[in-house]
């Protein structure tokens, strides 16, 4: 178990292109940190630099007080789960899990190895498969063997490189909770790379969002969702993604393609003398006005919109409303879309309405939103003008204390379980 500190870490390839550029990140002992970003953002490279499979061009990586820049992977004492599992096909499941123990010559006796492998197999429910070869296992079982190989020895930290991306959706959900449970119970520092924001938000104590090798924001999932620092983070976190509309400042009013919003004092101060801004509104913050009571409706802004397509998903309903964007912000938004691996499709507003809404294809719907939920971004730099650092810090602090409590609870539960099973054993 260890704290991991990255300071000003840079990875440059032969052609001078920085795949990872000046990333600094403090990972506390026992913390679960997610590296997330679209493909090619350098998240896997960063992970491989931590584990020692890629050289560090510049900067420093410190694990548990030691600078590990020049240490071989084996001397860093980290355990890694690879995207394609990298199990040894010529060894049985038992030998696969025992492999790291056998490499430490003389440290473990045959009995100790058996006990440890047995314990890992119990944790991951692999007992019936110990004598099988990886080729005969299902995807989920292989995944568990890979995790077994990681937890069997006392690694200082676990590193996961997109471990669930080869599993089907249902299994992915199960393994996600399994990883979360395991990490809480063992309390081992964990770095987890993914491009899936659901995994990022559900697993992470802290999530680091990367774009083109540059760290955008590292914060608790809630802080990322509520207080993104810029357009990129705002667009990346959330599903369906945040709607971005051009907003023109005209006196006391912010004019947007579908609705006009009165400017509050605070908002006006933050916008300053900008004439044009990009307004962000999350789909889930839009409501069908018909389903609201008068009092609530009066507190927000209501507007009429032509609904183009409706998707009913049981629990919610997505309404798509096309709109014309403005030339001045088109470039910025198209670039953002490309950064997010998008296809540069038509500009449309997505509203996630309650399933009880009666809006259908082709309707003119009356939609409502609370203007205090709006985020406002600078069209040039993409900075979030409504970013509230205090609120972000408060969200971080809250999730930090929640994490500490969850860790404590998990460890107490584990201790109780051990107590119960000792007399029996």
């Amino acid at each position: 178990m260890a704290a991991i500190t990255l300071s000003h870490v840079v990875k440059k390839y032969g052609d001078g292109y920085p795949a990872v550029n000046d990333v600094s990140l403090d990972i506390k002992d026992g913390e679960f940190v997610i590296l997330v970003g679209p493909s090619g953002c350098g998240k896997s490279t960063l992970l491989r630099m931590v584990v020692g499979l890629e050289d560090i061009s510049d900067g420093e990586i410190v694990i548990d007080g030691d600078v590990v820049n020049d240490k071989a992977p084996r001397d860093r004492k980290l355990a890694m789960v690879f995207q394609n599992y990298a199990l040894y096909p010529h060894l049985t499941v038992y030998e696969n899990i025992a492999f790291p123990l056998r490499l430490e010559k003389g440290r473990y006796s045959e009995d100790e190895i058996r006990t440890r492998v047995q314990k890992a197999a119990d944790t991951l429910e692999l007992n019936e498969h110990l004598e099988r070869k990886p080729a005969n296992l299902s995807g989920g079982q292989r995944q568990r063997v890979a995790m077994g190989r990681a937890i069997v020895r006392d690694a200082r930290a676990f590193l996961f490189d997109e471990p669930l991306s080869n599993l089907d959706a249902k299994l992915r959900g199960q393994m996600r909770t399994e990883i979360s449970r395991m990490q809480r119970r063992l309390g081992t520092t964990t770095i987890y790379v993914t491009h899936d924001q659901t995994e990022a938000l559900t697993l992470g104590d802290r999530v680091a969002v990367l774009k083109k090798g540059v760290l955008q924001q590292a914060a608790s999932p809630r802080a990322l969702y509520e207080q993104p620092v810029n357009l990129f983070v705002a667009g990346f976190i959330g599903s369906p993604p945040m709607n971005f509309l051009p907003g023109q400042v005209e006196g006391d009013v912010l004019r947007m393609p579908l609705a006009d919003v009165p400017l509050s004092e605070g908002l006006r101060r933050r916008i300053g003398d900008r004439k044009l801004v990009i307004v962000g509104l999350r789909p889930e913050h839009l409501e069908d006005a018909d389903t609201l009571d008068e009092a609530t409706a009066a507190k927000g802004v209501t507007f009429e919109a032509d609904v183009d397509v409706v998707e009913w998903l049981g629990a919610e309903l997505y309404a798509y409303i096309p709109f014309e964007t403005r030339e001045e912000v088109r470039g910025t938004l198209e670039e953002l879309d490309r950064d997010l691996d998008g296809e540069g499709m038509r500009t449309q507003l997505v509203a996630a309405l309650g399933a009880e809404s009666h809006v259908r294809d082709g309707d003119v719907a009356e939609l409502w939103f609370d203007p205090s939920r709006l985020m406002v971004f600078d069209p040039e730099t993409g900075d979030n003008l409504t970013y509230d650092e205090e609120a972000a810090r408060a969200a971080d602090a809250e999730s930090e204390s929640e994490r500490a409590r969850a860790l404590e609870r998990a460890q107490r539960r584990e201790a109780r379980r051990a107590e119960r099973s000792t007399p029996a054993a």
Partner: protein, 278 residues
Amino acid sequence: MSTARTKVWWWVGGLLIILYCLFPVAWIISLSLKAPSDLDNGSFLPSAVTWQNYQLILTGSASDLFLPALRNSVGICLIATLIAVVLAALTAYAIARLDFPGKAFVLGLSLAVSMFPVISIVTPLFNIWRTIGLYDTWAGLVIPYLSITLPLSIWTLTAFFREIPWEMEQAAQVDGATTWQAFRKVIVPLAGPGVATTAIIAFFLAWNDFVYGISLTSTEAARPVPAALAFFTGASQFEEPTGATSAAAVIVTIPVVVLVLLFQRQIVAGLTQGAVKG
């Protein structure tokens, strides 16, 4: 989609190919079982099966020609194969895994060496070998055999090593293995079928050589079987040694067949299956 009709055609086609390939073998076996007087009996099968050709080469007058040659062939080919496979495994591993200048040059050079016509270097080699005392020795044949077996081994092993996912080795290193341990405990077992296949092919190449064998040897000290066959004589000077030669040919084919049967499963087995996602 495989209807009964297409199945029948597959069988017919397959049988034709098998007949075409096995006919010469069957002919040689049949010849080896004929008595010298029976050789031109005009029929495919011997009129009376006789083992006298085998007796001749194993215990009879030709045995002091054949048996040392067999020993030479086995010894020289095994040594040449062993050296070639070990050297080629190290070379191929470096080529498949490392980035170093001149990688393409090494591969290209080894290909060029294997393309070089044997007959054009055998005369200078004969002179050099005589001068430095390698003529008519095992080492004198092992070295030229390496020039045939090494390039081929390097090429096939490089292909095999490239097939092994690099992550396997990286996983081993993260698990605490040194580079050498990762190579020995993960790469070598995984490359097993590839190494076996390569070894067999290299062995055959050396086993089948005739030009070096006949040019660089003069006595049974080093003469391999293919060369020795040329020195067979009939029981009398009026008899053709065809029967004895055929019998010897059958005997030297046996190790080849045995090797293939032994390693066939290894050769075919795709051991890397299931290593990664599937």
